[in-house]
Structure formats: C-alpha cells, structure tokens
Symmetry: C2
Subunit: 157 residues, 2 copies
C-alpha cells in the first residue's frame, strides 16, 4: 500500500516538473479512486488566465467529470505541495477522503508562493481585513435563502 502512495505521488511530482517545463507553476496533483487515477491537474493560472486553476482545483474538476458527480467520496488526492486555503476549501467541499502532500507551505513561500496572508486573513474579523468587506442589503438577499428552504425538489449538496 505504501508503494502505491509513492507511485501516485511520483506521478503528481512528475506533473509538477512537466508544468515548469511548459511555463506553468511547479505544482501537480492526481486524484485516485480504487487504485485508478481519475483526475490530474497542474497549476495553469497563467496559461488559462484563471487564478483558480491551481493543480488541486483542476484535478478535482476533472475527477468529478470522470465520476459524473460533485462528490469525490472514497478518493485520495496526491499533491506535490501542501494545498493553499482555496484548494483546502475545495477539498472539503468535494469530500475527498484523504490527502498526501510533499512540499510544505513554507517550501512554497520560500519560492514566492505565499499562502500566509490568506491563512492570516481567514482568521481576522471582516473589518480588519486587508481587502475591505462591506455588508449591505441582507434583507433583500435573504429572500433567495427562504426560496431555497421552501423548495421541495432541490438537490442538496
């Protein structure tokens, strides 16, 4: 079983190396279900002009397409670096079961990819954040929440 984990991590690391050669960020991810790779991703932010296109997000989207599902129950995610807060959120929403990572967030920071600001901001009250957060019009917005609550045929997720 440990050999399998190394095999799949090797694939994630190989993707991270290929990504650098192709002009992308040095990050790769594979997602595995029942011993089979069902999603792959590399950091494609600059290539796709998409700041959300981290390796983990790309791989999660591909794995969900493979399974035709918005849930990745029973899947293992192998990523060449500890996920940033955005990707961590995506991992929780996707219900991936387990994570293997190689480089740490400190390693990423040391080459200029600094998640620390985002980690810090998440624990800071809205009024103290570096990006200004303003709340307006809650009363109007709650109407959609009430519609959701009373909708009988909704798909829960």
């Amino acid at each position: 079983m440990n050999e399998d984990h190394e095999k799949f991590m090797n694939e994630a690391i190989a993707l991270s190396k290929d990504s650098v050669s192709c002009g992308g960020g040095p990050f790769g991810t594979v997602i595995v279900k029942d011993g089979k790779v069902i999603g792959r991703g590399v950091n494609s932010v600059t290539k796709l002009n998409d700041p959300t296109a981290h390796g983990e997000i790309v791989a999660i989207r591909e794995a969900c397409t493979s399974l035709n599902s918005f849930r990745l129950d029973g899947c293992i995610l192998y990523t060449s670096c500890e996920p940033c807060p955005m990707c961590l959120g995506a991992i929780y929403w996707s219900r991936v079961q387990e994570i293997y990572f190689a480089n740490t967030r400190e390693d990423a920071a040391s080459i200029g990819f600094d998640d620390a600001l985002i980690y810090d901001e998440l624990s800071v009250p809205l009024r103290d954040r570096k990006i200004a957060f303003h709340q307006i019009m809650r009363g109007e917005a709650l109407v959609a929440f009430h519609s959701w609550t009373t909708k009988k045929d909704k798909i829960l997720y």
Copy 2:
C-alpha cells in the same frame, strides 16, 4: 456611489433568486470594473458536477476571461452571501480590490451550507484534521521548486 453599490448588489441578489428557480444553490455574484459588469456567476455545483463552481469562482473565471488576465486589480466583487474559505482564497489570489456581501455565513449555515467546519479545519494543525493529511517524498518534490527558482523566463503571479 452608494446607489451603484446597491444596483450591482441587486443584480447579484437577482442572480441568486434565478439560481434557485433553475435548480441551483441560492448564491449569485457579479464583478465590476470601471462601473461595468465583467463577470457573473451563480452556484452551479450540482448543475455542472463541480464542487468548486460557487458563484464567486464562476464569476472570477468569467471576469478573468473578459479581461484576458489572471488578475482582477481594481475590480469590486458583489456577492449575495459572505464567501466561504475556498472563495475567499480565490478572491485573494485574484487580487479583487473590494467586496460587498449581503447574507452572512451564519445565514448560510442556517439553511444547511455550513462553512464552519472548513474555517475550523484551516486553523487546526494537519495531524488533528478530520481529513487525514500525510506528508511524503518532500525531497523528490523540491526538485520542481528548484527548477522554478532557476527558470529565467517564468511568468510570476
């Protein structure tokens, strides 16, 4: 100026209501640059089988396509509900300048969309998380980081 903020928030709220009618989650987002909407998104998780397709992520991707850029400098994001940690991460990576939101995370939790687990997990050491995180093979993965560091023609982001 306040009227503009209400106008754009009204559009985000309208999207959240339409989304419920169309079978999606009750969340809508618009992104504005220089007084013009350049990206729109609704929660499309179940429709697209994509757990990352929150309204904010969909809108960020569309706005980046509009600008042909992976950065949203000078943009304002209007969202019908306080962003979850995944979307907050995406907001920081995108460099959106300012956020307006209506419903709170507590409102979202009260109708079954509970970000609290993810917020909690982000501040918990890896070994204590509900999803198991294992570190392996850092030495091998660092090779890609070294390649990135020494690459001369890389696009920084």
